[in-house]
Amino acid sequence: MVDDQELKEWFCREVLPLERSLSAFIRRNWRDAADVLDLRQDIYERVLQGARQALPAQAGKFVYTVARNHLINRAKRARIVSFEAVVDLDATSGSDVLEPERQLLAREELRRIELGLEKLPPRCREVVLLRKIRGLSTRETADELGVGIDTVEKQMTLGMRALANFMLGGSAKVQRSGVPGLLARRPAR
């Protein structure tokens, strides 16, 4: 059994850099684009499940195999997906191993961060900058901007998600999903 710290390091180092190519792979092999993020999340979960027994030697091949099996299983269960999709998926095996995102040079990485920031709505961006550059807490940010802490928290989590997604190769689109049920479970502040 691999311990959590090791598993996490492996996941960040070997699996997450594959994200852009994994997402493209899912999109290519799945009819409904709206399912891509959920499928990717499921694949990550299964990847962790497998790697927890022993870290695989070749992360790319392993993730690809997990992804392929998961798509086939889902397709079989869904029944609405055409059979060709599955056949297609089988045919690609071997030639379609995932490629990690090229390691960015420091300057490119900065450019990337800058681009990601530009794509954020202005409120999100300001809150993110106050956090990342000046290290302000949400309370301090709320005081600084003269708005309520709830507003800051909301913008902060939206900004975090959009920027993190962008840094991992996504589009930095702000996902405005609420968190029903979470408020009930968090400890009182």
Partner: protein
């Protein structure tokens, strides 16, 4: 709603709360429980945490490009205003307020700011002109920025400057009896009373003695140079740029020494920590220390002195740690 988005939102909520000062052990335990509930939680959280960390270098971006307004003088900008006020329904008051603050962004009037850090503090200030100032421990600094000139007063402590070159807008650092004039560059200024130390990493700066009137001697400091001004003299030591960078390791919380005496090392630790070290014994004071230390971890350093050098450590009546043989 999609499951993955819901999970991501939960992970973001945890991550945001973990960065707050009031994060407690109970909170940490709750997060651990949540993570242990399923590998799906771990995948979502680790992924978000990693992506968010990848953006940590935002601080290295020039402030001009990201247009962050400086602290304290800034009033809430219009869109914040709008949302805050829409909520509070004080619309009449709002229009007055918005009207009052709508002055042009680059006014000819200089804007004054004051910044400080506590013992062990470290803070980065982006200036409106795109320059950045990084404050080290126990530092007080004031700025005045206008279209045609930028002035910084280092009242105490140490700061690292990354200056954006702007035609016809000199950048001047006033450190007590020394005035440092800059053309786009990276350098640090440290002030211990009247002793002023200027270390240049990139570009070139001019150090002037302001106490001697018009005919004052000016000294040009190049990359790799460290200028030390005390009284009437300014001494320049040329060093490899790497050695100059060693004096700047405080920027990432480290102290680096190459054969410094224990007295010097202790003085440096004392700048970063409330727990002060006291070296009175001359034979101990002369011990040479090399190595890299975490500036905030004075306990580890003291432990090293005990174990590696067999020194004695006693707590004095006024709460200092006295090191002796």
């Amino acid at each position: 709603m999609m499951r993955s988005q819901d999970l991501e939102a939960q992970a973001a909520d945890w991550l945001m709360r973990r960065e707050q000062p009031q994060w407690s052990q109970a909170d940490q335990a709750a997060l651990t429980d949540w993570l242990d509930e399923s590998l799906a939680h771990k995948a979502a959280f680790w992924r978000l945490e990693h992506g968010w960390q990848l953006a940590d270098r935002i601080g290295a971006l020039s402030a001009r490009e990201i247009a962050l307004r400086p602290r304290r003088t800034s009033l809430p900008s219009r869109w914040w205003q709008a949302s805050a006020l829409a909520a509070s329904l004080l619309l009449a008051a709002a229009f007055t307020f918005i009207g009052l603050r709508s002055r042009p962004a680059s006014s000819p009037q200089p804007s004054f700011e004051a910044f400080d850090t506590a013992v062990g503090g470290h803070r980065i200030i982006p200036l409106a002109d795109g320059s950045r100032i990084e404050l080290n421990t126990e530092t007080i600094l004031r700025t005045s920025v206008s279209d045609h000139r930028r002035d910084v007063w280092l009242d105490r402590g140490e700061a690292f400057f990354e200056v954006v070159h702007i035609e016809n807008s000199p950048f001047v650092v006033h450190a007590g009896p020394r005035m440092i004039t800059v053309v786009g560059t990276q350098f640090s200024v440290r002030r211990d009373g009247d002793k002023v130390t200027v270390a240049v990493v990139k570009g070139r700066v001019r150090v002037e003695d302001t106490t001697r009137g018009e005919a004052s001697a000016t000294t040009t400091v190049n990359p790799g140079d460290i200028a030390i001004g005390l009284g009437a003299s300014t001494m320049v030591i040329s060093q490899p740029v790497a050695a100059v960078e060693d004096t700047l390791t405080w920027r990432d919380g480290r102290l680096v020494f190459h054969g410094s005496s224990l007295t010097e090392v202790a003085a440096d630790f004392n700048r970063y920590n409330r727990q002060q070290l006291l070296i009175s014994d001359p034979s101990v004071a002369a011990i040479r220390i090399s190595g890299t230390f975490k500036a905030s971890n004075v306990e580890a350093f003291v432990r090293l002195l005990k174990q590696a050098y067999g020194l004695k450590v006693d707590l004095t009546a006024d709460g200092k740690l006295k090191i002796s043989s």
